[in-house]
Amino acid sequence: MKFLPSLLLSFFLMAGSEQSKIYTTNTGQMRFRSEAPLELINASSKELKGAIDASKKTFAFRIRISSFEGFNSPLQKEHFNENYMESVKIPEATFAGKIIEDLDFSKTGTYAIRAKGMLTIHGVEQERIIRSDMEIGNGFIKIKSSFIVLLSDHNIPIPRVVKEKLANEIKVELTAELIQK
């Protein structure tokens, strides 16, 4: 039975050499802003979940809609969840896909990248290419991005009475630091 220790050793060595290429976070930050003629609305969440697989350049992000805080009143938050996002029926928004650029994740540095994937908000999928700044470090990836979401793209109607208070164009910003698993 002399071979057993050496076998186990080789097995562990092999497993060890296959270091994970997946970076994740549970605490990404996301903000959105609606700038309508009569009202500004701001809200943010610190519960953005994200994962990037460096070996395949794939990514996925996910956020719980009811985790957004801020708004101009508690009632507004309630209406956001109940009437616009319907967060009980559709609790999350997601974005998953692939990074277009060829990236060498072993090289640290900051890159401007384009993320192509399916953005699902309010249960409605839209194929989007979202520009983002990506900083690759030792064992981490930092992401900073801002983009626009059109409510009309995601089947979120604006009632006539709040036309002047809610913009169709919602500005979204996110920052996240993903740590290598």
Binding site: L7, E18, A60, G70, N81, E92, V162, K165
Partner: protein
């Protein structure tokens, strides 16, 4: 030889495990989210659209730091006919302010034209309906109010006590949001009279209230509210208060339109001093409007 064979097997196994790491990232996050949800408590929100069901309190509280100006009207009886323009010639009105001291504690005061009443109340939420880590099937609040009638004393020649015009109401509110559209609440209520109209009347009127809402669209719900007075603990000649109405939400504000047989808007006047009878057409039209102001600066 066997050693080499085993080596091969282990090598294959090793690379197989490495392969297994190529997971579906979206699925991975979804699973993680599900795990998170189990460890978090999600409180049920928006059981009702506003802090009043129709006349009485709903389980909802005014948000912390929010001042809510409420103006309510009850017109005259529909069976007044064209002469009274179906009741619209007469109006009884209450205005008042509610303030959210904390998310669970609301206090307010009001003034009614009906018997020139002042009223104050406090409402505190004891339990919140929730799912997830803590599973709580219902929300429970307690509400206490005091009312004073400030009409001139009808007989100034006798000794009149201020305390004889004070009234108190105590209410337990238990509510459950059964679905996005349906919520029901039960309100056991005691109304205390320091002085009652007749010697045979009890000083404590006991009533069980039941109310609910059914949303008929995203922004409109039908509400109903009924207070059943225990026959042995009610003032003589009174009827039970029954109201049916609509909540209409218009961009941050809620309008409440309703039909009722109660002209008063304080617990004592609608729970225990309703004299109208739906069967005889003693029905009043009324509405509540509210305007909220944020007093606390948001971070």
């Amino acid at each position: 030889m066997t050693t080499k064979l085993l080596c091969c097997i282990f090598f294959l196994c090793g690379s197989f495990f490495a392969k297994a790491q190529d997971v579906d990232l979206d699925k991975m996050l979804e699973d993680e989210q599900k795990k998170d949800e189990k460890n978090k408590t999600h409180f049920t929100e928006a059981t009702f659209k506003t802090t009043r069901l129709i006349h009485g309190h709903s389980i909802e509280n005014t948000g912390a730091g929010i001042l809510d100006l409420k103006i309510s009207h009850r017109f005259g009886q529909l069976n007044g006919g064209l002469y009274e323009f179906f009741g619209l010639d007469n109006a009884s009105m209450r205005w008042g302010f509610d303030y959210g001291i904390t998310p669970k504690l609301t206090a307010g005061f009001g003034r009614s034209t009906y018997q020139k009443q002042y009223d104050v109340f406090v409402k505190y939420k004891l339990l919140r309906q929730s799912t997830g880590k803590t599973n709580m099937p219902i929300s429970v609040s307690v509400m206490g109010s005091a009312m004073v009638n400030t009409l001139k004393f009808t007989d100034p020649t006798r000794t009149n006590y201020f305390s004889s015009r004070l009234y108190y109401a105590y209410q337990l509110i238990a509510a459950r949001k059964f679905s996005e559209n349906t919520s029901i609440q039960i309100m056991p209520t005691v109304v205390h009279y320091n002085l009652v109209p007749l010697a045979t009347d009890p000083n404590d009127v006991i009533a069980i209230g039941i109310g609910g809402r059914q949303k008929i669209s995203k922004r409109v719900s039908i509400n109903a509210e009924y207070y059943y007075q225990l026959p042995e603990a009610k003032l003589s000649g009174t009827t039970n208060s029954l109201s049916i109405g609509f909540d209409i939400e218009t961009g941050g504000h809620v309008f409440q339109l309703h039909f009722t047989n109660s002209p008063g808007m304080t617990e004592r006047t609608f729970v225990s001093e309703t004299y109208g009878d739906w069967g005889k057409g003693d029905i009043l039209f009324g509405f509540n409007v509210s305007r909220v102001f944020s007093l606390k600066k948001r971070k």
